[in-house]
Amino acid sequence: MLNYIVRRLLYAIPILLGVNLLTFALFFMVNTPEDMARIHLGAKHVTPEAIEGWKREHGYDKPLFFNAAAEGAAKVSDTLFVEKSLKLFVLDFGPADDGRDIAREIKTRMWPSLAIALPTFLVGLLAYISFALLLVFFRGTRLDTAGVILCVALMSISGLFYVIAGQYLMGKLWHWFPISGYQPGLDAWKFLLMPVLVSLAAGIGDSARFYRALFIEEIGKDYVRTARAKGLSELRVLFRHVLGNAMIPILTGVVVVIPRLFLGSLIIESFFGIPGLGSYTIDAIQAQDFAIVRSMVFLGSLLYIIGLVLTDISYTLVDPRVRLE
């Protein structure tokens, strides 16, 4: 198994290299450092000297792939691609375009992100699966039909409306929670509960319907009939047999997102003013800070690949037939 994991992680290198080449092409070749300098300097201050100055200050004054002016190995290493792109592989994110250290920001900002994403993920998983099992238990009845219609209706509402309605009702009208903001420490729950509740509500339609479809497919199979024929109660059939056998497709969708929980949610964090990585990213997008966007893209890909490996490992835990060779 260790062998397999090492091999999978080695596969990650060409993928991350591809990601880097893609973002590098977007941000340095389609969009030249000159363009960046122009945006950040503003239309009034654009002079050739100012652009050169800005580029030197931010380390963008090097050739893209090949530095003819340098000596020896520096011909290749003293270039933008190595400096800005390859250094990400050793998690050296460098400074943002506003001068602050990206790595430090990530370290402090991932905790608030995690504080929202982790409860949302865990409670959500439990709630959605229970709701789906409930619908399956009552399958074919009016309750099931009503539940499915409710799910479709809920997933037809834009996520923005859940946030807006949540803030308006829970924050402004009923005064349960502060509308937005964050403070570290034990008092954080006051600020965290509403984003978590809103994210849970926003996700229920899509997920519950997905899980219900999984269970319904499973419940038509022969082993379920056998289990019933043995005289097992319907609840036992659902929880032991159906849920157990639906585990593989559930894990496929679920495990891969776990590492990415660190990155937080763009929309939720920016609406609720949580100083996490999601709002960091969205601020960077709005300020056109490409250094941060590049780092977050790399981090996101890295975490996704870790998630894929974790998914494979999790299969072996729930299904003894799966062996990683």
Partner: protein
Amino acid sequence: MNFKPVLLWSDALILLLLAAAAAGVWLLRHNETFRAPLRQVLASRMGSATALILAVYVGIGLLDSLHYVERLPDEPGREAQYSGEVKSVLDKLLAPLRENVEKTYSAPFATHLYAKETMIGPDGRELRDYPRLKHGGAHLADPDTEFWPDVLKRGGLGVLGGMVCWVLLVFSLWQRGRSHGALAWTLLCILVVSGLLVALAPHYHVLGTDKVGQDVLYLSLKSVRTGLLIGTLTTLVVLPLAIGLGIAAGYFGGFVDDVIQYLYTTLNSIPGVLLIAAAVLVVQVQIEAHPELFDTSAARADMRLLALCGILGLTGWTGLARLLRAETLKLRELEFVQAARAFGVSRTRILARHLLPNVMHLVLITVVIDFSGLVLAEAVLSYVGVGVDPAMISFGNMINGARLELAREPVVWWQLAAAFLFMFVLVLAANLFADQVRDALDPKAKGRA
């Protein structure tokens, strides 16, 4: 001619899409594998009702896609001059809504402005009060007493008109044996609502006005085109990539498969919003750097919209491609493909005649299911600031402009409510329709609840 038609790029593409769809239907009109599912969708209650609702939206979107510029009054000795403002047929139809601009917010059916103003009273002294609207309910001499009778009278006439149309339509369809319950009731709802709007909208702001006094109903109707374009034009990019690469990966295997799998794993590994944001930022910079390419602001916004569709398509083909690859892997080993190969049928012919038709149902299902997701994505992306042009009327921009106004006292809720309502009906109809299409096309779905 006092107008000149203008063909924006997106208009051209949407007409192309329409022509392609029409051609497809025409070619397949005798094909039973295509007709049976279609009949099943349209014969089901849900399928026919949602198809009708979607057709209304598409109609609005199409009317809004026929653009023209008006000719300015002639000056002697000069060539004809055209206005720089691009209008659509929908704008022309909604002229009373478009032109009845108030000063700022006003509630639905209001006769007075949302904000107080300093005015000169009848006795010559200054006083602060809510001024009357310039257009909304302006025909009423005394709004306090005349408002309800007037609204009821006009509304009643509108409902009556809608019902008369319905009776005529249903009667004529019934004679041809083409009507059934759910469809008729949906039609009744649509006709009554349109009757009400036709009767009331020219005289009142039915859904209120926004910050700069534009009619919210007009904004909502204009947003429909943006949403539909995002949902449909993206497919133009997705389909060739997903079909080509997915089938190629599955059929050829080996090196081709490795490269294509590498491509979509790489694209997939980047968080979706971030990749889209990154690409849109780049496009934005490029558009700003080349202002000379776009002669009107409409053309500029249009280009940004197309770029957004392109980016959504380039990032969105991976799911379908993976699905098609898996299906092709399975089909490749089946007897009919083996037989074709044994007969010496060429590779391209096997791909085009034997594999492609057998994965078409997956393609159709995915296209229909993805549509609603794309409409929703537009709103989120516009909120993040990487969606359509901020000057373009869209659901995302409407929500974005209105969400801070909930903090006002009294609450300005109508703009959000209107965006919510129009989006909800569109996405719900699309979702329900997609379910019907899936049930009709997916052989595995048969007999499943």
